[in-house]
Symmetry: C2
Subunit: 408 residues, 2 copies
């Protein structure tokens, strides 16, 4: 009899985005003539950079012709893309990462979701609260938790990220094995300092723990004192993996390309305490379970590192940051405490009320869709997340409407 | 201390393709002026169908423009593609599959590799021998085997596919939970009859087992009596999952698009024996670990079902089948027993000698690269696989050279 993986039954059905959609649709039905402005999703809205589009087309044409056709590519990504990434995204910032430490994939969500497969099912997992749900759910599915109870999974360590610690979790007092960090943070928009990140690296060294560092929003950093990569920190190459994506930089949410950096010195242990190469384990997983990323997509991604492409991406991210700045000014001006939005496309608003109540207020009175913070964890209660991904005109209109209903 | 998943350490390092590459490169170094002809890999060589190229370009242009830009798509694939698949690939052949039973993905290799996650780690797995290594390796990584010993993993049931049973494994006498079947088969090229497939479905029903049916090579079937889908068999929708790909049909090995069909009635069980929906479990996995497939790739795949596209794919697969037919005629004419190549791009040649010895003979005397059958399992010893993926001119030349060295 074929039995299921019963860990799946532990999963708490998350109704966050479904519930947002339901309430939004109800509002639209009742107010068919009102223009809704969506600042809820973390999805980009502007066209691909022209440099990427040009490279994308050229590569499609290569596939069209027998003489230039390419079939299966390298499992871990084409050399041209891995080299560009290593040079432009790491070496240029003082992080000594080589091309063969870069694994190209079709998304950071799959990578952050699948990486846990490499580790023992009894690994103790720590996440920030609020948290991107994928980190938690994929570990629940793999059997690294108990039941869902009072808003948390038993066996997972939730590290509070609150106003008190500037939304950067404190180093835990107990030992954990696998730590998920995300900076600039989703959902809070908080960034981390080099000093704080160095403390995390030191903790991982002392505990023989591994840090899974999600840097999907790195392209929004404008403050040069903020580390772009965990590999800017001494010693991180032994204790960290970093996830990056083209989704929020070059607008690839629908195009699909990302990469994961695993230094060859990154170490885990077997049950006898011998060192094992995490790089080798991931190589084995990728070669066994993947056939690489679409060739034209990899060429489009490569173009993001051309001078032309890099300029266009800077313009693209600056556009969203201008939106974020406007949101920040307007909401702060109304007397609300706002985090993020300076080096991040997300803003985390302390509402002073129940998350869903505030969500409803903005939806029903301003026709603006946001995301209730409580959907990201217990520490998100009393907050909403506003995303800067929309047109500037729509953001202006949304802020005008919100100002009208909230000004005191 | 972060400990690894020690099941990875059980994996027998497969040197098959690495060893082929090594021996090929040695030959090239020693014979720099000889033209090598590669009939080893299962990778297509001809350009994408023009209909797919056109749709691919149009979709890239959509992404280039703010007004038509698309970000994240549906996790399980766009409705336009799922509907086309359900109608053209299943309903048209009498298999009652609906669009929401189709899950679009970036490859059958990831899907056949990841599907086992849904099931209990103590599930008993059966595979054919010879076998596509992904089925086995992914179960080893998940802990469903013991050690590798004498060419097999302990705990996995290998079902011999030999000359005696026409390379179609016999139904096992013992109960298993998860059965991998692949028809037209890789590597043997064998096809299955409706009667035989119905026996497998009956076995799965009786044992409450699940069949994982890999139909990646279905587009090469020309004999209408051969089932294209397991869902043509009554009762299969309760006990089977089917994997399909655009790789070997529309030549998408470098473009990346595939799909997995899980009927809503497909059932597994929890430890109390209650029925659980495999469709729901896979939905949960896909929504948690994926953000879907590149939009332009899905549009290119959709075009494969247009009248124009379908004609081009027929032409493409017929081209390779013409190669296969030539190989079959020539090798048979030399007195070798040949399977496959009639409704499959693969030919399975009984060499009468050690696989590697025959490989070396063809390489060193005819400058033709093939694949030693022993790389696919114990039952592959004494065979080689020849692939029909190359130009007709190259196949003609290869056959001429092989004839010259082997004719008696």
């Amino acid at each position: 009899m074929i039995k299921i993986n019963e860990n799946y039954l532990k999963l708490n059905a998350s109704y966050l985005f479904a519930e947002i959609t339901k309430r939004t649709n109800e509002f639209i039905a009742a107010n068919p003539d009102t223009k809704i402005i969506k600042l809820g999703l973390g999805d980009v809205t502007r066209g691909l950079p022209p440099a990427c589009v040009k490279a994308f087309h050229m590569a499609v044409d290569e596939l069209a012709d027998d003489a230039t056709f390419r079939g299966y590519g390298p499992y871990t990504g084409y050399e041209f893309l891995r080299t560009a990434i290593a040079e432009k995204e790491f070496q240029a910032f003082g992080a000594n990462i080589s091309a063969d430490e870069v694994f190209v994939s079709d998304g950071s969500k799959p990578d952050t979701g699948n990486i846990q497969e490499l580790f023992s099912t009894d690994a103790k997992v720590a996440v920030s609260d609020p948290v991107y749900p994928v980190y938690v759910d994929t570990n629940v599915m793999a059997g690294r938790s108990g039941s869902f109870k009072d808003g948390k999974y038993e066996g997972i360590l939730y590290l509070d990220s609150t106003e008190e610690n500037n939304y950067i979790s404190d180093i835990p007092n107990e030992k954990v094995d696998l730590i998920y960090l995300c900076f600039p943070n989703n959902p809070t928009g908080a960034t981390v300092t080099k000093e704080k990140l160095a403390q995390w690296v030191e903790y991982a060294q002392d505990s023989k723990a591994l840090i899974l560092f999600d840097a999907a929003y790195v392209a929004f950093i404008r403050d040069d004192s903020i580390p772009k990569s965990i590999f800017e920190i001494d010693g991180a190459k032994e204790v960290a993996i970093e996830f990056r994506s083209f989704s929020k930089t070059a607008g690839f949410t629908g195009t699909r390309c990302a990469y994961t950096v695993i230094p060859k010195s990154c170490t885990a242990y077997d049950s006898e305490g011998n060192k094992q190469s995490v790089h080798s384990l991931w190589s084995r997983r990728v070669t066994t379970k993947s056939n690489g990323v679409s060739y034209p997509v990899q060429r489009a991604a490569e173009a993001a590192f051309s001078e032309e492409g890099a300029g266009q991406i800077r313009e693209l991210t600056s556009y969203y940051l201008k939106n974020a700045s406007l949101i920040r000014d307007k909401i702060s001006g109304l007397g609300y405490k706002v985090t993020g939005g300076e080096n991040s496309p997300y803003l985390w608003i302390k509402t002073g009320t129940d998350s869903w109540e505030f969500f409803d207020l903005l939806l029903n009175k301003a026709a603006v869709v946001t995301t209730p913070g409580s959907g990201f964890g217990l520490c998100g209660e009393g907050y909403i997340r506003i995303s800067a991904f929309n047109s500037y005109e729509n953001v202006e209109l949304a802020m005008q409407r919100i100002t009208d209903i909230l000004k005191k």
